[in-house]
C-alpha cells in the first residue's frame, strides 16, 4: 500500500499530466480525448496533497465533496472508500471529474495554486469514479425512512439529476420529467462524446434510477402538462429545465441553409448521433470551411465536432481576444492542438449566400479593445473600414442561449426576471411560489454543470426542510 510521503518531498513534485489521445489521431474519431490517470498516476498525484485542515479546496466545490478525505483514500489504494467518500455529497462524479472547470473551483482554492500547480482534483475524481464504474460497484443506500411525499423534477440535466438523487437518498418519492426521448439534458445533447462519453451519462442516470427515481421521457412540462397541473399532483416541484433557446446575431443572412445554432449542430451530432449517419437516420451537414462564432466552451465543442465530421478548416471567430474568451483554457488548448484556427477581435456583420440558400462567405469587421464594460472585460469596438469577407461555406452560431418560456408560461405566480429566468432565493433556490424551487441554467443563464449541481443540492435540502415542516404544494394556494 502506498502512503503519505514527507511534506518537503510532496511539495517538490509537479502535477502529473493527463495522458491524452494524439491530436492527429483524435480529430478522426469521437473517442474521449483524455485517457484517464493510471493507478500509478493517481497515487503519485494524490500523494502531493497536503491534507490541509480546514481544506480550502472544499470551499471552492459547489458539490461540497470531501476532497482531502477521498484523496487520502487514493493514497491508501482504497479506491472503493474513495468513491464512497465522493458519493456522500456528489451523485455525478464521473461527469464532474471531466467537465467541471476545476481551475475556477476547487483547484483555484488549492494552496499549491499560488505556485501554479494545484492538485489535479478533477483528474483524481475521474480516476476514482471510472474505477468504480469498471468494478460495477453498486452503492448501498443508507436505510432512510420512506417519507411518502412526492416531488416532481422538471428536466434531467445535471441540476435535476442531482436534486432527484439527493431527495431519493432522503427517502422521497421523486419523478423526473424530461422533454426529449433521452435523459441527461445538456450532458446528452450538448457536450460531445469526445469530452463526455454518453455511456458514462447513461451509467450515472441508471445509478440514479437505482436510487428509486422515476424518469418520464417524452414529457414537455408546459405542453404535455403544465406546472400548475403538476402542482396538484406533487408536494414540491424543482424546475431545472435549462436555458434552452439559442441566440442568434440578428445579422443579414442568418437563416441561410448552412447557418446552424450550436444547439442544433450539437444536438444533431450528440443526441441524434448524426455523426454516424446513415447508420443513424438524422442527417447533418458540414462544410469544407466552417466558421464558429463565439468564444465559450460550446463554441469549442462545435468547432471540434465540425473538424471530426470532416471539415477541412475550422475557424473560431470571436470579437474579443483569447484572454477574455469564456471557454476553459484547457478547451481552447485542445482546440488549438487539433488545428482549429482562431480569429480574435473579429465580428461577423453579414452572412453571404446564393439563391439556393447556400452559404458562400461571411463578412466580418475587425475589432479593437476599448475600456472595460459592465462585465469588467475590455469592450470590443469596431475598426471602421476594416471589413473583409471570410470564404466559408458553413456558419455555426455559438453565442449563448436565452430562457425558453414554455415552462414558465404554465406556472402561475412563479416570477421570472426580465430575461425570462426564474428568480430564486440564492440559498434555498425557492421561487416566488411556495413549494416550487428552481435551479441550473433556467435561473442563471448558460453556466456550468457544477453550478447546476450546486443548485440541485441546495434545492434538495430546502425541499426537505419545506416538506419536513409540513409544507405541501397540494395544500398551498397558487
Amino acid at each position: 500500500m502506498a502512503e503519505l510521503i514527507p511534506t518537503p518531498e510532496r511539495m517538490k513534485r509537479s502535477q502529473r499530466p493527463m495522458p491524452e489521445q494524439d491530436p492527429k489521431k483524435r480529430v478522426c474519431n469521437f473517442d474521449e480525448v483524455p485517457l484517464g490517470y493510471t493507478t500509478e498516476d493517481a497515487i503519485y498525484e494524490a500523494q502531493r496533497c497536503l491534507q490541509c485542515n480546514p481544506p480550502p479546496c472544499v470551499e471552492g466545490c459547489p458539490a461540497e465533496i470531501h476532497i482531502p478525505q477521498f484523496i487520502l483514500k487514493i493514497v491508501e489504494e482504497d479506491f472503493a472508500s474513495a468513491y464512497l467518500e465522493i458519493l456522500k455529497t456528489n451523485s455525478l462524479p464521473t461527469m464532474c471529474g471531466r467537465v467541471c472547470p476545476q481551475e475556477e473551483q476547487c483547484q483555484r482554492a488549492c494552496v499549491y495554486n499560488k505556485m501554479g500547480r494545484p492538485i489535479s482534483i478533477g483528474r483524481l475524481e475521474q480516476f476514482v469514479s471510472d474505477w468504480a464504474r469498471k468494478q460495477n460497484t453498486k452503492e448501498k443506500l443508507p436505510d432512510s425512512k420512506k417519507k411518502g411525499k412526492l416531488v416532481a423534477v422538471v428536466g434531467s440535466g445535471p441540476a435535476g439529476l442531482t436534486c432527484a438523487a439527493d431527495l431519493a437518498k432522503m427517502g422521497y418519492n421523486v419523478t423526473i420529467f424530461e422533454a426529449l426521448h433521452k435523459t441527461g439534458g445538456v450532458l446528452t445533447y450538448g457536450i460531445p462524446e469526445f469530452r463526455l462519453p454518453k455511456k458514462i451519462v447513461e451509467y450515472e442516470v441508471d445509478k440514479i434510477k437505482d436510487f428509486g427515481v422515476k424518469i418520464v421521457t417524452d414529457f414537455v412540462v408546459g405542453l404535455t402538462k403544465g406546472v400548475d397541473e403538476l402542482a396538484g399532483e406533487f408536494d414540491a416541484i424543482f424546475l431545472a429545465n435549462g436555458a434552452g433557446a439559442p441566440q442568434f446575431m440578428h445579422i443579414p443572412g442568418e437563416n441561410l441553409n448552412d447557418v446552424y445554432s450550436a444547439n442544433e449542430f450539437l444536438t444533431r451530432s450528440n443526441l441524434m448521433k448524426a455523426y454516424k449517419f446513415p447508420e443513424f437516420d438524422t442527417p447533418i451537414k458540414v462544410g469544407k470551411k466552417v466558421a464558429v462564432i463565439g468564444g465559450g466552451n460550446v463554441a469549442m465543442d462545435a468547432a471540434r465536432t465540425a473538424l471530426r465530421l470532416g471539415a477541412k478548416e475550422v475557424h473560431v471567430v470571436y470579437r474579443r481576444t483569447k484572454e477574455e474568451a469564456p471557454a476553459r483554457a484547457e478547451e481552447i488548448a485542445h482546440a488549438e492542438e487539433e488545428g482549429i484556427m482562431f480569429d480574435f477581435l473579429t465580428l461577423p456583420v453579414r452572412t453571404l449566400g446564393d439563391e439556393k440558400g447556400n452559404v458562400t462567405g461571411m463578412e466580418c469587421i475587425k475589432m479593437r479593445l476599448g475600456k472595460p464594460d459592465q462585465s469588467g472585460r475590455r469592450k470590443p469596438l469596431p475598426i471602421e473600414g476594416s471589413n473583409f469577407v471570410m470564404q466559408v461555406d458553413m456558419v455555426i452560431c455559438a453565442i449563448g442561449t436565452t430562457a425558453n418560456p414554455i415552462v414558465a408560461r404554465s406556472a402561475t405566480n412563479v416570477q421570472t426576471n426580465k430575461r425570462g429566468y426564474f428568480t430564486v432565493d440564492e440559498k434555498t433556490r425557492a421561487t416566488s411560489r411556495e413549494g416550487i424551487f428552481a435551479g441550473g441554467d433556467i435561473t442563471r443563464g448558460s453556466a456550468t454543470v457544477i453550478s447546476a449541481i450546486g443548485d440541485g443540492k441546495k434545492a434538495a435540502r430546502a425541499i426537505d426542510r419545506y416538506l419536513s415542516s409540513g409544507g405541501s404544494l397540494k395544500k398551498s394556494k397558487k
Partner: protein, 280 residues
C-alpha cells in the same frame, strides 16, 4: 412506448394511424403537432395531429411515404410500438367565431386542416372547405371533411375526380363570389401554401398557413425550424406552426426545407435496398 392501435392505408402510400397517447389526446387542440421516433436510431419527425379522442386516449396522424422514417412507419402494424412520441407541440389554431371562413387542404394537408375545419364550424363559422390532390386516388378524408364543413369543394389536378384544377383556382373563385370571407387557412405543400397566399392577397383576406419546417427537438431548443416572418426570425415549433402566410419569406423557407434533400434521398434508397435484400 406508444402502441399503434389502428392502421389504414387511406390512399396509395398514405397511411392513417391511431396511436395510444392519452396525455396528448387529453390536451391537444387543432393546429398542434407531435414529434415521433420510429426506433432508437431514427430521426425525430414532426407530424400534425389529424384527430384525437379524449375519451379513449387515441390520437390520429396521417402521412405520405416520402422518406425513410415514413417508409418505416408504413411497414409497422397494429400492435407495434413507436419508440418515442411527444406533444402536443406548437400553438393551437386561433379558433373564434369569425363569420365566413375558408379552409384549404392540399394532399396530406387535408388531414391537418380537418380538425381546424371541424372546430371552426363548431365555433359557429360558416366554413367553406376546398380539398384537392393530384389525382382521384389521392383525395383523402372527403367524407370527414364534408361533415366538418358547411360546404365542401373537391378538385383534382388531372380532373380524374370532381373539378379539374388546383385548389388555389377554386380559392380564387370562392373569394370572388363570397364578399365577406374573414380568414383563410391553407395547409399543404409549401408551393401550394405560397400560391394560396398570392391568390388571397388581392382580396385582402388574411391567410393562415401551417409550416412543415425541419425540426429536431420541437420545443424551441435548436432553431432548426427558423423562418423569417415579417422581417423577424421566428421558430416554427414554439412561435407557430401557424403564421400569417402573407408575411412569410417563402423562398427562404423553401430553401431551408431542402437542406437535407440529398441525404434524405440516400437514406430512403439505402432502406429500400435493405428491405429488398431481406425479402429476396
Amino acid at each position: 412506448m406508444y402502441k399503434i392501435i389502428t392502421k389504414r392505408e387511406i390512399a396509395p402510400n398514405i397511411i392513417s394511424l391511431e396511436v395510444a397517447a392519452p396525455l396528448i389526446a387529453k390536451r391537444v387542440k387543432p393546429g398542434q403537432f407531435i414529434i415521433l421516433l420510429v426506433d432508437e436510431r431514427g430521426e425525430r419527425i414532426p407530424v400534425t395531429i389529424a384527430d384525437y379522442n379524449r375519451e379513449n386516449g387515441l390520437i390520429r396522424i396521417v402521412f405520405q411515404v416520402v422518406g425513410k422514417t415514413t417508409a418505416q412507419l408504413y411497414q409497422m402494424n397494429e400492435g407495434d410500438q413507436l419508440f418515442s412520441l411527444v406533444g402536443p407541440l406548437g400553438n393551437p389554431s386561433e379558433i373564434d367565431n369569425y363569420g365566413t371562413v375558408v379552409t384549404v387542404g392540399g394532399g396530406t394537408g387535408i388531414a391537418s386542416v380537418y380538425p381546424i375545419t371541424r372546430e371552426l364550424k363548431e365555433a359557429g363559422n360558416r366554413v367553406i372547405s376546398i380539398i384537392g390532390a393530384k389525382t382521384r386516388d389521392l383525395i383523402i378524408m372527403e367524407d370527414e371533411m364534408k361533415k366538418a364543413s358547411t360546404e365542401l369543394l373537391v378538385t383534382t389536378d388531372d380532373g380524374s375526380y370532381a373539378r379539374k384544377g388546383f385548389v388555389t383556382e377554386i380559392l380564387d373563385e370562392v373569394l370572388q363570389k363570397e364578399k365577406d370571407v374573414k380568414k383563410v387557412w391553407a395547409i399543404g405543400p409549401a408551393p401550394m401554401m405560397k400560391a394560396a397566399c398570392e391568390v388571397a392577397k388581392p382580396y385582402g383576406v388574411e391567410t393562415i398557413v401551417s409550416l412543415n419546417a425541419i425540426m429536431v427537438d420541437g420545443t424551441g431548443m435548436c432553431g432548426s425550424c427558423r423562418v423569417t416572418v415579417n422581417g423577424e426570425t421566428k421558430f416554427v415549433c414554439v412561435d407557430g406552426p401557424e403564421f400569417n402566410g402573407h408575411l412569410v419569406d417563402w423562398p427562404e423557407f423553401m430553401n431551408r426545407l431542402a437542406r437535407y434533400e440529398k441525404m434524405e434521398k440516400h437514406s430512403l434508397e439505402a432502406y429500400r435496398k435493405a428491405c429488398r435484400g431481406e425479402n429476396g
